[in-house]
C-alpha cells in the first residue's frame, strides 16, 4: 500500500482568516479517508487544494506523486471529483453529460452503460439534469466523477441535503466503489456517516486536524465510557443505590430515572438487573449508549458538533 496523497505544512489564508493552518497528513492507497468537521472548518478549502483547484499559500501537496500546483493538468486526468455543489447545464440529458465529460479525458474506458447501471440511472439516461431530484442529481455527479476511472475519488459533502434513505443508498454506493480498489477521500459534517464509512478519519477544526485515526480507535481513546439510562417508578430512591454497582463511575439523576456512566457496560447491566430483581424496583426504558464520534468531538473541542 503506497501513499497517494501527502500534505506537508499546508497553509491557506483568505485575508485575515486562516482556512487551513499548517496541516500535515497523508492518505493511503485504497482506503476510505474521511475529513470530519463543522461547517467552515476548512474541509472544502483543503480538498480543493488537493484537487489542484486552489493553491496553498505555503507547504506542499502531492497527489499520485504529482505536485498539485504545477502538475494539475496531469492530476486532473487521474482523479474524480464531486464538488460540494455540482451543477451541470440544466437542460443536458444524463447520458449526454456522461459522454461530454468522457470526451475531456485522454484515456476513458467505454463504460457509460455500466456507470448508468452501477448508479441505478438507467431509466434516467434521457432525462434532463434539471428535472432530477436531489438524490438523483448527486448520483449523476458521482457518475461524472467516475467517467475517467479515477485512481482517487473526492467526495465533498456527499450526502448534505439528502433524505435519510438517499443518504444510506450513497453509503452503499461508496462502499461499493471502494471495493473496486479506488481510494476515496470524503468530507462530511455527519459523524454517523464518517463512523460508518471511513477506514480512517481526520477531525478538522479551525483549519487544523486535531485527531486522526480509525473511528474505533478515536472512540476507544476516549476511555470507552458508556451510558446506561433507565426510568424508575419509585421517585424517592437515592442515587447512592447505584453508585455501588460494579464499574459505575458516576450517576446522574434524571427527571424520572437515572443515567449511569460505566467503564463496562455488560457488568453494570447485569448488576443493575440483579439489584432491581432483589429489591423489586420497577425499572423501565432501559437503554445503553456507547460513546461515539460526537463524544470524541466534544471531548476534543469542548463544543458540540452542530449539523
Amino acid at each position: 500500500m503506497g501513499i497517494v496523497v501527502e500534505c506537508e505544512h499546508v497553509t491557506k489564508r483568505y485575508g485575515d482568516l486562516i482556512a487551513v493552518n499548517d496541516l500535515s497528513f497523508s492518505i493511503e492507497e485504497g482506503e476510505i479517508f474521511g475529513l470530519v468537521g463543522p461547517n467552515g472548518a476548512g474541509k472544502t478549502t483543503l480538498i480543493e487544494m488537493i484537487e489542484g483547484l486552489r493553491t496553498p499559500d505555503s507547504g506542499s501537496i502531492k497527489a499520485l506523486g504529482l505536485d498539485t500546483t504545477k502538475q494539475d493538468g496531469e492530476l486532473k486526468e487521474r482523479i474524480g471529483v464531486l464538488l460540494q455543489t455540482t451543477s451541470i447545464q440544466p437542460d443536458i440529458k444524463v447520458k449526454e453529460a456522461l459522454k461530454l465529460f468522457a470526451s475531456f479525458y485522454r484515456h476513458v474506458p467505454d463504460n457509460t452503460e455500466q456507470l448508468l447501471r452501477t448508479l441505478s440511472l438507467e431509466d434516467k439516461a434521457d432525462s434532463r439534469f434539471k428535472k432530477l431530484s436531489g438524490g438523483l442529481k448527486q448520483r449523476v455527479a458521482i457518475a461524472l466523477a467516475l467517467v475517467n476511472d479515477p485512481e482517487i475519488l473526492f467526495l465533498d459533502e456527499l450526502t448534505t441535503g439528502l433524505d435519510p434513505q438517499a443518504r444510506r443508498n450513497m453509503w452503499d454506493l461508496v462502499e461499493n466503489i471502494s471495493t473496486q480498489g479506488k481510494t476515496v477521500f470524503l468530507s462530511t459534517h455527519y459523524m454517523e456517516e464518517a463512523e460508518k464509512l471511513c477506514d480512517r478519519l481526520g477531525i478538522i477544526d479551525y483549519g487544523k486536524i486535531i485527531a486522526l485515526d480509525t473511528p474505533g480507535n478515536l472512540v476507544s481513546d476516549l476511555g470507552g465510557e458508556s451510558k446506561v439510562t433507565f426510568g424508575i417508578e419509585d421517585k424517592d430512591i437515592d442515587a447512592s443505590r447505584f453508585e455501588v454497582l460494579e464499574a459505575v463511575s458516576r450517576v446522574e439523576k434524571l427527571e424520572d430515572g437515572f443515567k449511569l456512566y460505566t467503564g463496562d457496560e455488560n457488568t453494570t447491566l447485569q448488576e443493575l438487573v440483579r439489584l432491581a430483581d432483589r429489591e423489586e424496583l420497577k425499572v423501565s426504558n432501559l437503554r445503553t449508549e456507547s460513546s461515539n464520534l460526537d463524544d470524541v468531538f466534544l471531548a476534543l473541542t469542548g463544543r458540540e458538533m452542530r449539523e
Partner: protein, 249 residues
C-alpha cells in the same frame, strides 16, 4: 487541445441551444416569419431605400440574416454565460482536464452552427415562397456574414458579462433587440425617421450589416463597404467589455 472534447462540447452546446425556446423562436422561426409577413404584405421596399425596381424578395434576405445573427448572439450567449456562472458549471469543468480556451471556442462554434442553421431555414423559406437570389458574390456574402457573427457574439458576450442572472440578461437583450430591429434600416428606411435619431441609427451595429449585405445580395457595387468599420468598432468595444467584466464564478 483535445479535438474530441472540443467537438463534443460544441455539439452538446448546440443541442442545448435547440432546447431553449427563446432561441428556437427568435433565431430560427422569427426571421423566416418576418420575411414571410413582409413578403406577403408589401411588393416593394418602402420608398427611401433606393432599391426600387429591383426584386423585392432580395430586399428581405439581408434583414433576415441580420435577425438570425442578432437573435442567436444576443439570446444564446448571455443565457449560456449567465447560466454557467450562476449554476457553477464552470467550476465543475475546471476539475476536468478541459482548458478554458477550449471551452470558449466550443461555445463560439456552437453559436456559429446555430446561426448557420437559422440562415439555412431563412434561405429555404425565401427560395420556396419568394424566389430570393444572391446576385453578387457568395464569397462576399459569407465573409460579411461571418464578420457580423463575430461582432454580435462579442456584443452578446458583453451582455452576458455585465449581467448576473439569465433573467436580467434576458431583460437587457429584449430592451436592445426590439428597438434595434426598427432602427437598423431593416424595413424602415432611416431617412424616414426623425433627424435627431438618424445618427444613432447609423451607429448601431446592425445597420452597416444590413446595408452591406443588401448591396451584395443585389449585386450592386459595394460602395458602403467602409461601414464595416463601424462594426469593427462594436467588435472591439464588445470584446473589451467582455474582457473587463467577465467572470466565470
Amino acid at each position: 487541445m483535445k479535438l474530441r472534447g472540443l467537438r463534443q462540447l460544441a455539439w452538446s452546446e448546440f443541442k442545448l441551444n435547440l432546447r431553449e425556446p427563446a432561441m428556437l423562436f427568435w433565431a430560427l422561426a422569427f426571421p423566416a416569419l418576418w420575411m414571410s409577413l413582409f413578403g406577403a404584405i408589401f411588393k416593394e421596399p418602402m420608398p427611401g431605400f433606393g432599391y426600387q425596381g429591383l426584386s423585392y424578395a432580395n430586399f428581405l434576405l439581408p434583414g433576415g440574416i441580420g435577425l438570425v445573427i442578432l437573435a442567436s448572439a444576443f439570446i444564446g450567449m448571455p443565457i449560456t454565460l449567465t447560466t454557467y456562472r450562476q449554476t457553477g458549471v464552470l467550476k465543475r469543468l475546471r476539475v476536468t482536464p478541459l482548458k478554458t480556451s477550449t471551452l470558449a471556442l466550443g461555445v463560439t462554434i456552437s453559436q456559429f452552427i446555430f446561426m448557420f442553421l437559422g440562415i439555412v431555414v431563412l434561405f429555404v423559406v425565401g427560395k420556396m415562397f419568394f424566389d430570393v437570389q444572391v446576385l453578387g458574390s457568395w464569397a462576399a456574402l459569407i465573409g460579411v456574414t461571418v464578420v457580423g457573427m463575430i461582432t454580435f457574439l462579442a456584443l452578446g458576450s458583453a451582455i452576458g458579462s455585465v449581467t448576473r442572472s439569465p433573467r436580467a440578461a434576458n431583460a437587457i437583450t429584449m430592451m436592445i433587440f426590439m428597438p434595434m430591429i426598427f432602427l437598423s434600416d431593416m424595413f424602415l428606411p432611416i431617412s424616414m425617421l426623425p433627424a435627431g435619431l438618424q445618427p444613432i441609427c447609423k451607429a448601431l451595429p446592425l445597420t452597416p450589416l444590413n446595408i452591406v449585405l443588401r448591396d451584395i445580395v443585389y449585386g450592386v457595387p459595394l460602395s458602403e463597404l467602409w461601414q464595416l468599420g463601424i462594426m469593427a468598432g462594436w467588435l472591439v468595444s464588445g470584446s473589451l467589455v467582455t474582457l473587463k467584466f467577465f467572470k466565470w464564478e
